[in-house]
Every structure is written in C-alpha cells, then in structure tokens.
Assembly symmetry: C2
Homo-oligomer: 180 residues x 2
C-alpha cells in the first residue's frame, strides 16, 4: 500500500524564532486533494538526569501556551548544526547547572506527527558533575529534585502533564530498573 | 516564586482547519519583555485498544509533516463541544471500526507545552465490539494488529516514533500488567 502524499504546492505562512508554519497542498494516494498545516521545528532534546542520591532533576517553568506552570525534565531546541548529544549536555548545563559524564541515548520520537515535524531525542544522564548555574535569560525556571522512583510512579499514574517527561521517566526506569 | 507571564498583546497570524497560530508579547516575572509563538489546537484523544486476543489495534498512516509512514495508536482531534470520552469512541470507530464497551481514562498531557496548547486525553479501550469500518475521507489509514506485549516491548525499546503511542502502550501495560 502506497501512503505517500505528494506535495502539489507549499505556502510559507510564518517564520518565527522557534517555529515556522507552512500549508502544503497534497495529492493523496486515492487522487483526492487536501491541505496540510505544518509546524516546522528544528527538533529538540530532553534529559532524564539522575544524581547520586537517585533523584531526578526537573525544572518548573511557566508555559505560556498552556497558561500554567509545569514540572518537566530539562529540554530544549537543537541549535543549527548542533548534534543531539551536544545539545543534551548544553541544555542540562543551562537549565540545571550539571554535566552528565554518562549520557546515554534512550529514544527519539515525533511529539505531534499530525501537525509538526518536531523530533525529540531523549537521553538518560548519570554521573552528574556540578557546573555553575546559568539559566537562559529568557526563562524563569526553578530546579526541583524528586526521588527517581517517586517520579516514575507519578508518571505511570498520570501525574505529569508533559508528554516528554512521562516518556523520559518510564523509559529511563525500564532501562535501569535491574540496577536499582 | 511567581512564574506567570503576562500578555501585553496578542497577534493572530493564521487560522486553519486543524490549528491556529498567534504570537504573544509577554512580560516575564523579572520584567523583561519576550515573544511567545503559540500553536492553538482544540485538543485530542488517543486510544490503546486491546482485543480479546490481547492484540493492540494500531493504524499505519502517512504523516506529511514527517514525510514518513508511522505506526500509531488511533487518535484524533476533539470536535467543538465534544467530550474526550465521546471523541475516543468516535475516533476508535472511524479509524479501526470498533467500539470499546470498556473505555477507561488513563492520563492527559500536553504534547508540546513549549509551543502548543494541545492537550491529549489518553484512554484504554477493552471489550471491543466490531462495527462497520468507516475511515475518514481524507485519510489513508491501514489497521494493524500487534500482540500487546510485543508492542509494549517495542515502546520501551524506542521502536515507535510517535510520542502518544509510547505513552499509551507503557501506561496501559502498567495499568493491566497484574491481570495478564
């Protein structure tokens, strides 16, 4: 079965600082014509950072789109030309002030494949080394430490409202549960 | 600590069929002014539908934003005025042709709180009852049945490229693992 949607034309609507928007007119496999509203995103990383006390380092920040303050694992956008693992160390440093001597790739996934090309690379960071805290100018973030197993339970129980945080905690737990 | 970002002004950029885009100028708690690019979305549901053979019903479809064919759990947008559980039954019917006599809410989460307000409601559907297949006109989707435990292993191993599918499978497994 051929699923491919062929682009007939593409119209750029908006080019912003973190995302762009375009509308593609596409021809479906059955010959019908449709439109696709597509948010272009550079991709991102997120890190489950666990310290020597088996606590996970999380960040509390206001998320304007949701008009609420959310508790999430550290994350951020890929800069131009930056690899995911370099980005993961940079974001971990910027958001919580640590470097992970042991940084392991866990998974990658599209956050919302229905309307965006954002691909998120998820990492498990361990053997954390304290660096000086330097938060982004534009962000008001507060670091919180939560016992890892408690956070995992919260993720399974639907207590976190952020998708990447749920995936990060559950996949990290699956990865290291034999060792803890 | 007060995190709230106050909206100074809001500019609508685009109003589409599945999403809208606006740019808010905001005042941060520290007094700085910044901009937030926000994708408005009506919200969505996704369903982990497990049949009497312990297979999970998934859909394969082309996702134009990713220019690839993805295997996902059934999902779809909330229609105006529709509750999440009504939407879950409708989408399950439209995408895989089944109704779930046992439909249980698992969790809700923001898919990308950094740039969108999309809130996704996740359900576990069991005791499936076959209805006539009626796929959306606009979608070319193919239903696939995968043994549930195999799909869960794939999710933990990072084999699925769709965030809601990973969350759905891992949370559903956590929910019913004592019974299987």
């Amino acid at each position: 079965m051929d699923f491919v949607e062929t682009t007939l034309n593409s119209k750029k609507i908006f080019t912003g600082k973190i995302l762009s928007l375009r509308v593609d007119e596409v021809k479906l496999p059955n010959g019908n014509i449709s439109k696709r509203e597509i948010v272009e995103h550079p991709g991102a990383v997120a890190i489950v950072a666990i310290n020597e006390n088996m606590e996970v380092l999380m960040v509390k920040q206001y998320r304007k789109p949701t008009e609420s303050t959310l508790l999430e694992i550290p994350a951020g956008k890929l800069e131009k030309g930056e690899t995911a693992d370099i980005c993961a160390q940079r974001e971990l440093m910027e958001e919580v002030g640590f470097r992970a001597l042991d940084m392991k790739f866990l998974a990658k996934f599209y956050t919302t494949p229905g309307f965006s090309n954002e691909l998120l690379y998820l990492f498990l960071g361990q053997k954390l080394e304290k660096k000086s805290k330097k938060a982004d100018d534009d962000e008001n973030i507060q670091v919180e430490k939560i016992p890892f197993l408690e956070a995992v339970k919260m993720a399974y129980d639907g207590k976190f409202l952020d998708a990447k945080t749920i995936i990060g905690l559950t996949l990290a737990y699956h990865q290291i549960k034999e060792k803890i």
